[in-house]
């Protein structure tokens, strides 16, 4: 399954790059995330709960960050499995500065001259097991929804953080 899309974060690319790799922030932003701990350089162990229509289950897996080119791009490799199946994903995130008006969450607190970041992502995801057999029709929509929730939360967190 191909996944792609973009989202504007209300911070400059340098900051966005940091946030997107900060386990404490990510753990808060990822829907269903129960824990995210660093186990090595650019490698994290993750526990999350996934809800897919009638299916729900805990996933345990690893998140790895590779090919880092701050502040413009990095690669995210996710692997997880649980009782409802497994998922594997590999995606490239690109960060571009945006100088146009920002209208997302937190827009009211910003001025139009501030720099925001357009995060565009593109990747492949593979799901297996019960999730694939039963939830195939829903995976696409669920993935999109989860990504949107993630960025919405992240944008909110980014706005509220004081640096």
């Amino acid at each position: 399954m191909k996944i792609s899309g973009s989202y504007t974060l209300p911070v400059a690319p340098e900051r966005a790059f940091q946030i997107l790799q900060d386990p404490a922030i990510l753990a808060q932003a990822m829907p269903g995330c129960e824990s995210l701990e660093k186990i090595g350089p650019d490698e994290y162990r993750m526990k999350m709960k996934v809800l897919l229509a009638a299916l729900s289950g805990q996933f345990e897996g690893k998140v790895r960050i590779a090919d880092q080119a701050p502040p413009t791009s990095f690669r995210l490799i996710v692997e997880g499995s649980g009782r409802i199946g497994f998922l594997k994903g590999d995606g490239l995130l690109k960060l571009l500065p945006r100088y146009t008006d920002y209208t997302g969450p937190g827009a009211e607190a910003r001025t139009s001259t501030e720099v925001s970041t357009l995060v565009s992502y593109e990747g492949d995801a593979q799901v297996g097991g019960t999730m694939a057999a039963v939830g195939q029709r829903l995976i696409d929509g669920t993935a999109k929804m989860m990504i949107k929730k993630f960025f919405d939360k992240l944008a909110g967190l980014a706005r509220n953080l004081t640096w």
């Binding site: 497994f86 594997k88 057999a133 039963v134």
Partner: protein
């Protein structure tokens, strides 16, 4: 003395309601799931989520310490259990070792990896989630054509080409036929993977009785005796101390014509824990680990003269095997080859089969088993040939039918068709549907830009399977008839039914032969400790083979009854009729029931005659039987949405003599439902990674009652000379005749757009896309996209 009533009423040929139905429709039948035993434990099987992976390690600690769990078993423990067998022998057949639990590698999604046994089914299920399996995921291949390509992942590393078997058959002179042909039509035709979907999933209860060294195995199967022989062998048990019971079986359609890993596995578990254990397959498991049907990619070529005479047929057949051979996997495409000439008079055929391993659940017999695929192929090809030659599809069929004076007819594939009058059902179906008028209507509708199609299929099939040399485990069938001292009759049939109504039809046969009431007859089946060895119910064989064994056992008993009757009447010239033995000279008679009592009381015996009334017959059929028929389907297609509406469904089937028209109609209806399922909706889809993405009934489009058309079921009757009942078999006819009639109809409807073939299933999406593109190509109507 006996109070049994004697009747002169006959039953064969009448619409007798099924005697098994009251318990089925009141929910009082006993299926495997209904069996409860003291101390019973429950097993849940952990299955692979990957289509191909190496197992690095399995950690069962958490699961073992979970509440209620008795044990967790892995493949390394069950290594001593024999492999799941392939029952087919053929040269160069590659048979991968099919252990009952995966050991170091998994080969398909659903592959059993571990079994958790607990005192409660839910606790077992929860504990299964606690097993941690470390998989090294390997590349998988799920498409048979891709599996044949160079560089494809090897399903079994020892066979990098993924070829499971090849098979070649040549009849006549194909090269000459094609050289002399005016026209050759070629087409790739797919017969997609299907999920058999018995309403009752599989299930096993195993009860090991240690003191007796006896295993009782309750399993939802079509073949209890074969399961006993094979499972006893796998577990190293004695056959006479292994008892297999198939209680009520809620459908099989071929999917329970098999021996599965779980049957031996539960036996093993029960022996290990010394308690009865139950495993019931969930519907999701059923999707991924009970065999699938079909899975063909066929490349057909048909050669003909300009006048429509078929000269020869070539077929290259790719059979998607799956990861393993189940019991009959390699046999199924061979049945397709046997059937490939259809009912047409051509003596030149060539077939090449290649069976291909894929990282999918194995394919095996599913309603029709090989014959629907072949019939779909030949019936599509004949229609394409007719279109090419601008002939009417009915006319080209009449021209090529084997003539009715040519029987017995030897086919180029080595069969001998027993009897037939192939033109009769087609003529009848054309009359019933009003063919000429419909063609006129079609022409008018076309002028209005509307799509209406008329599809014909004239099928033949191979039933009453079959002579033992042609079947992997013996093709005979057995019957015992016991007449009790009271004159009540018990029939034990080896042809264990799973919904075919043998408790009714077999009672009808016996009632007429003995002249007793149906209520005086009980039909027992499905318990190897009760019933003599038998083969089972599949391949439309139960009545034609099992019914014939019953018929001959009844003849033995009738002879004995007459002997006793003659003795009691002090006559030498008696007849048995209407439940009475009558002295032909004096007209004096003795009721059958009184004679039955006398055979057991044995105060006096006829010379060289033993007491009692019981007879067993094992009947070996000298040939298959070959039913046939014509199905005509009229469809209307919505040009805007691609929806297909079946306006008429006319089925004229010739299955020889009909014992019970109600049951025959039921078989036709059920068969057509499954044929329509394949033609219009059903498809088991694996993605490129070998994940089954149609793993639930929300994604797998099984026909529902409201989708069924009204089936106009009619018959012609050409009795079979192969058995004394003159029956041929009808269990699969509906399925076999259906799918090509539907596709021919839809292709006919869309032929003005230049459509010449569409692969099943004919989903509205597929038809809509075709309409959109073709309309644009043809430019005759505004394209919607």
């Amino acid at each position: 003395m006996a109070t049994t009533t004697t009747k002169v009423e006959t039953f064969v040929g009448k619409r007798i309601r099924r005697r098994e139905d009251p318990r089925l429709i009141t929910g009082t039948a006993t299926y495997v799931e209904d069996i409860q035993m003291p101390g019973m434990h429950y097993a849940v099987i952990l299955r692979s989520p990957h289509a191909a992976a190496r197992i690095r390690s399995i950690d069962t600690k958490k699961a073992e310490s979970a509440p209620g769990v008795v044990c967790v078993l892995l493949g390394k423990e069950t290594k001593g259990v024999g492999a799941v067998p392939c029952g087919v022998a053929m040269p160069d057949l590659r048979v991968p070792q099919h252990t009952i639990l995966a050991t170091d590698r998994v080969y398909f999604v659903g592959h059993p990896v571990a079994v958790v046994v607990a005192r409660d089914g839910y606790l077992a299920r929860d504990a299964a989630d606690l097993i941690e399996v470390d998989y090294e995921v390997l590349p998988a291949v799920a498409d048979p054509e891709k599996a044949l390509a160079k560089g494809a992942p090897a399903v079994h590393p020892q066979w990098p080409d993924n070829i499971a078997f090849t098979y070649h058959q040549d009849g006549g002179n194909v090269d000459k036929a094609f050289a002399e042909a005016d026209v050759v039509v070629k087409q790739r035709i797919v017969s997609q993977r299907l999920v058999p979907m018995a309403m009752e999933t599989r299930g096993v209860v195993a009860e090991w009785r240690n003191a007796d060294r006896q295993l009782n195995l309750y399993t939802s199967t079509q073949i209890p005796h074969l399961v006993r022989t094979i499972v006893a062998g796998m577990l190293g048990l004695e056959e006479n101390r292994t008892r297999v019971i198939a209680p009520e079986v809620g459908g099989g359609f071929g999917s329970k014509l098999n021996v599965y890993a779980e049957e031996a596995l539960m036996g093993y578990v029960s022996m290990k824990i010394q308690k009865p254990v139950k495993w019931i397959e969930s519907r999701r498991e059923n999707f991924t680990c009970t065999i699938h049907g079909r899975g063909h990619v066929d490349f057909y070529e048909i050669a003909a003269k300009r006048d429509g005479t078929i000269l020869g047929i070539k077929l290259k057949l790719i059979q998607d095997v799956g990861a393993y051979h189940q019991l009959l996997t390699p046999l199924i495409p061979q049945l397709s080859v046997l059937m490939m000439p259809g009912i047409y008079n051509t003596q030149n055929i060539r077939a090449d089969i290649v069976g291909v391993f894929t990282n999918c659940v194995p394919t095996d017999a599913y309603r029709g088993a090989g014959r629907p695929e072949a019939t779909h192929g030949i019936e599509r090809m004949v229609d394409m040939l007719a279109a090419e030659l601008k002939m009417d599809p009915a006319e080209i069929r009449f021209k090529n039918f084997v003539a009715k004076d040519k029987f017995p007819y030897a086919t180029a594939t080595g069969l001998t068709y027993d009897s037939g009058d192939y033109a009769a059902p087609l003529k009848k179906a054309l009359d019933l549907v009003g063919y000429a008028k419909l063609r006129q209507e079609q022409a008018d509708l076309r002028k209005q830009g509307k799509y209406m199609g008329i599809g014909i299929s004239t099928y033949g099939e191979i039933c009453a399977i079959g002579p033992s040399p042609a079947t992997p485990a013996g093709g005979w069938e057995s019957a015992t008839v016991k007449i009790e001292p009271s004159g009540k009759v018990t029939i034990l049939t080896g042809a264990c039914p799973h919904g075919q109504g043998e408790e009714t039809t077999f009672a009808q046969i016996a009632a007429d032969e003995l002249g007793v009431a149906l209520d005086d007859i009980v039909v027992l089946r499905g318990d190897t400790a009760v019933v003599q060895y038998g083969i089972g119910t599949f391949g439309s064989r139960a009545t034609a083979v099992g019914g014939t064994a019953l018929y001959y056992a009844l003849q033995d008993l009738k002879a004995k009854i007459k002997k006793f009757g003659a003795m009691l009447l002090e006559s030498e010239d008696v007849t048995l009729a209407g439940g009475q033995v009558v002295d032909n000279k004096t007209g004096k008679s003795k009721p059958f029931q009184e004679i039955a009592g006398a055979t057991y009381r044995a105060l006096k015996l006829p010379p060289n005659t033993e007491p009692g009334l019981m007879a067993t017959r094992f009947w070996e059929p000298p040939n298959f039987t070959f039913p046939f028929g014509a199905h005509i389907v009229v469809t209307d297609i919505d040009g805007e949405t691609g929806q297909i509406r079946i306006r008429r469904y006319v089925a004229v089937d010739d299955c020889g003599n009909i014992l019970n028209p109600l049951i025959v109609d039921g078989q036709i209806h059920g068969g057509v439902a499954q044929g329509l399922g394949q033609a219009l909706w059903e498809q088991a889809v694996y993605d490129d990674n070998g994940q089954l993405v149609t793993g639930e009934l929300t994604d797998y489009a099984l026909p529902r009652a409201h989708l069924m058309p009204w089936i106009e079921s009619h018959h012609t009757c050409t009795p079979s000379p192969v058995n004394p009942l003159g029956v041929k078999g009808v269990g699969e006819a509906g399925t076999i005749g259906c799918s090509p009639a539907v596709v021919n109809s839809v292709v006919d409807a869309l032929s003005p757009l230049g459509v010449r073939h569409i692969d099943m299933p004919l989903t509205p999406e597929k038809i809509w896309k075709l309409l959109a593109t073709k309309n644009r190509d043809v430019g005759s109507r505004g394209a919607t996209k």
